[in-house]
């Protein structure tokens, strides 16, 4: 594809995206979070508080000009920890989606293309098994059986995430395979590999991409829930869910220890949701 066409396409996409002010807001929030996460050491007022640090003199002090979100029970600045905490949320989203999507999509392509054969049935039944209980239950079950670390939490979520992509791509692939251009490719003797990845897959791209952007918010939501329950990153890691859980013992007197991390969780998820909606609206016309 030549560059002029691409540029025009992106201009058109940007126009569609920017029509909704909420999408722009989402983009702004997400970009800020990414920047803060990467350069947390720079943005955090007290970067050394992020991990192992105690200062009991200052512990549990309410929000003030020195500590915008207050300090927690070990005297650490909550805002700084929140900024570092963004990293874990983002890492979880990126890892889960990059690991779960390829196999999910691949299986969906194969099952969709080989529709109504035993391959189709086998793949979709396996996917059905993973989707037969609410996602939270499976994630909790897998997570609780392994040692509670961030890595294992990501594993648990990945394990129950891939079938959604299989189902999505299955639906798309089975309808695309009946299109004329696919039949044309078959007739001219194209290999199955080419048909799957050269013909069908490119047409599913925007659906997959839309779902991925919308999923980021969900993965972060489930991830923070897992760490809240104690099954994800462990203290003293400044994971947002863990922070909410640690601080819950101090409600109502020292409400800020729980509430600020909780608020930022909502902000992150909201940002990604708005961005995801914008991407969906942008790609919808295509």
């Amino acid at each position: 594809m030549n560059t002029e066409l691409l540029k025009e396409r992106w201009r058109r996409n940007w126009y569609k995206f920017s029509r909704n002010p909420l999408s722009i807001l989402g983009l702004a929030v997400v970009l800020s979070i990414i920047v803060i996460a990467i350069f947390a050491a720079f943005f955090a007022p007290y970067p050394e508080h992020a991990f192992v640090f105690v200062d009991f003199k200052n512990a549990k002090s309410p929000p003030s000009w020195q500590h915008l979100c207050g300090t927690d029970m070990a005297g650490r600045d909550i805002l700084s920890r929140i900024f570092f905490g963004f990293r874990y949320s983002l890492v979880m989203a990126v890892s889960v989606l990059s690991v779960a999507t390829p196999p999910g999509v691949l299986l969906g392509l194969i099952a969709g293309y080989m529709r109504d054969t035993w391959v189709d049935t086998a793949i979709m039944r396996v996917a059905d098994v993973f989707l037969s209980v609410p996602s939270m239950v499976l994630a909790l079950a897998v997570c609780s059986m392994l040692e509670p670390t961030l890595y294992n939490a990501m594993l648990a979520v990945t394990v129950m995430w891939w079938p959604w992509y299989t189902r999505l791509v299955y639906g798309a692939a089975s309808s695309i395979k009946n299109e004329y251009f696919v039949q044309a490719a078959e007739v001219t003797g194209a290999s199955t590999f080419h048909i799957l990845f050269g013909e069908i897959f490119p047409n599913c791209l925007s659906t997959i991409f839309t779902k991925m952007t919308l999923d980021v918010g969900w993965v972060i939501l489930i991830g923070s829930t897992l760490s809240f329950v104690g099954l994800g990153a462990q203290p003293p890691t400044p994971d947002l869910g863990t922070m909410v859980s640690d601080g819950s013992k101090y409600i109502p007197a020292q409400w800020w220890i729980s509430l600020f991390p909780a608020l930022f969780i909502v902000v992150i998820i909201l940002g990604f949701n708005l961005l995801g909606d914008g991407v969906r609206d942008m790609l919808a016309g295509d």
Binding site: S135, F228, V229, I251
Partner: protein, 341 residues
Amino acid sequence: MNIKKYVAYRLVSSFFVLFGLSLLIFSLSRLVPGDPARLALGPMAPQWAVDKLRAQLHLDEPVYIQYIYWVTNVFRGDLGQSLVTRRGVFNDILEFFPATFELVIFSVILSTSLAIILGVTSGKYANSLWDNIVRVISYIGIAIPSFVWAIMSVFIFGYVLRWFPTLGRLSSGVVMPPKVTGLLLIDSLIAGKLDVFRDAFYHMILPGTSLVISRLAQEARITRASVVENLHKDYIMAARSFGIPEKTITLRYLLKPSLIPTVAVMGMDIAGSMGGSFIVETIFNWPGLGRYGMSAMLSNDINAIVGVVMLIGVFFAFMNILVDLITAYLDPRIMMKLRGS
């Protein structure tokens, strides 16, 4: 194919899926590192006691043998013994299920009614001030995990405003009504104890809203989108052209097609809330299946874990079929597709 065949097909299909689920969860539970027997008895227990328990649970035999033991037991109604409560898992489930069922049903009915009202009014008056308010609130609502709402609502409504209680199903000192269904709201009404009803109702608000806050927002959005889409359909204009009153148009001609996606989502929300109950019940100390399941998972109570997950799987499968049937009943176009398959 007709309805009976379709239902039979789905039931058989679900059976296979549940079979697969049992394999999955069973193997996961048995392949976990660590010794469940040792965990159950504690570090102080003598080795022979641990070995005895291991033999009882067939833990030293190959996994597939263990599975066969388990399956045969299931068909006898025996889901094994909980390593934590020392009672039959089946009995535990029976005891804790009503509390969760009541919480889930209560919350979903509440959330769906609210979602429909919000969705229809904001859709019909799209782009008005009310619509914009509802949209902003639902955007935020979708982004709130249930534990966040739980913590925030406990703080705001439980402590600051002191409107609602924050723990359990009933306040301490309140006597439970005689057990008829296990659902406190119904049992207290049957027994005529309105104060107990009120107490139970208040106790359900915070955990209930935490359970469904995000789903409520999602349902409202879906309803609104559906209403907006149908509002400009030709059949609405046609109805108006024949002089059918606006009220009838809104409450019948617009509502029925618009609610079909909402009903489908509602059914799945009931099923999905079973998952959310793990978190919410633990936070609010609600004596239900979720709290039981959560503690089973955290203490590696393998029999209980398998039992609870299987039960939820069965419930989920049942709900799926029910939702599909109801949407087909409501929308003849879906029915035709179903018949065609």
